[in-house]
């Protein structure tokens, strides 16, 4: 039955052939090596973060009364909860590492040069967004480390001339780190940043499809 359904779909949309042509048999320059995988690995980690993040959303409650309790529940009581959280944690850390390797490869190969300047620009913006993901996500467990790390983080922009004080207050949602800080970091982390990331990723990917991978040295 499965074969018949897949055949019915394929006879209408020709998915198998276009998958073969556009993915499996997609031409790449000779002598590309494993360092060209770092961008793809970063994307894989982003997908892992989306999936495990949605899993965590089923249990996490972004309020100062319950955030730590729910994280404790996920970690110690929920079957496989610690595993989901661990994948989220390690994928987040590895994502930064692989972005670094990806950028290093692009830099060394000179792949950011004409005509790929906009790939680099969107890439750098994506890197900034990922750092924002890390910063906002770090607060959510609402433990001592989260609180003090965020305190240091939000006070840093305070040294920006003129508007620094406002940026700090905007990030904290007022004069101190509390209920409003947690909920706005949560909103940024699970709604705003994922959508912005998706938009920039689509641009990043369309450009590489259009221009192709830069030839190796």
């Amino acid at each position: 039955m499965f074969a018949r359904i897949s055949e019915a779909i394929d006879s209408r949309f020709n998915i198998n052939e276009s998958f073969k042509k556009n993915v499996l048999d997609h031409p790449v320059p000779p002598r590309v090596n494993f360092t060209f995988c770092f961008g793809g690995i970063t994307f894989l980690l982003y997908v892992l973060l989306l999936v495990t993040g949605i899993g965590l959303l089923f249990f996490y409650v972004p309020s100062v009364d319950h955030a730590f309790t729910t994280v404790e529940y996920i970690t110690f009581d929920l079957p496989a909860g610690n595993f989901v959280r661990a994948i989220h944690h390690w994928s987040a850390n590895l994502m930064i590492v692989f972005i670094f390797f990806h950028m290093l490869r692009v830099f060394v190969y000179g792949a950011y040069k004409n005509p790929r300047e906009f790939s680099w620009i969107t890439g750098v913006l994506l890197f900034g967004i990922v750092l924002a993901f890390g910063f906002t996500g770090y607060l959510l467990p609402w433990d001592q480390k989260a609180y003090w790390a965020t305190r240091v983080g939000v006070l840093m922009p305070g040294s920006v001339p003129v508007i620094g004080g406002f940026i700090t207050k905007f990030l904290m949602g007022g004069d101190n780190i509390g209920a409003l800080t947690l909920s706005r970091f949560f909103a940024l982390h699970v709604a705003v940043l994922p959508i912005i990331t998706a938009v920039f990723l689509v641009g990043h990917f369309l450009m590489i499809r259009k221009l192709g991978v830069a030839k190796p040295l």
Partner: protein, 165 residues
Amino acid sequence: MSNQDQCQSDSRRKFLAAGIGVISGVISVGVGGVVLTSIGAPAVTNKREGKWVEAGSAADLKPGEFNQLSISYDAKDGWLEAKIKQLVYVKVTGDDILALSATCSHLGCNVGYDEKTGGFKCPCHSGIYDATGKNISGPPPRPLDRLDAKIEDGKLKINTATKEE
């Protein structure tokens, strides 16, 4: 490219395509399985456990008729220590204590005591029970749950676990 080369290259392509498929499958099933396990687990592990709850002084109960009591007790509700409230009807006849859960066996509304018939009526879909809790008309598929009850040191105690009828 000779025929043999073409053939080699084809089988290599097939091998790589299969490899990509297997690796993608393992990652999807692995991560998906772990996430779905944690999402689904509370359906099995987050149980309401029966415990003995004090429901007031036995002397306050009117003998021979149904007394409507609201019992509340602490229970674990996922990550929360929650107060659970439950409505029960208790009738003491001599040494015999009949404790019925007010939860309708149809869709879980609280049934009300009907003074005219001496039985119970559910306000949601007009399920009717008689004075023993037996379902006599309307949609309820089975009688009201009976709860274990006892009187100790003049206090009425009710077990929140429902007995299988």
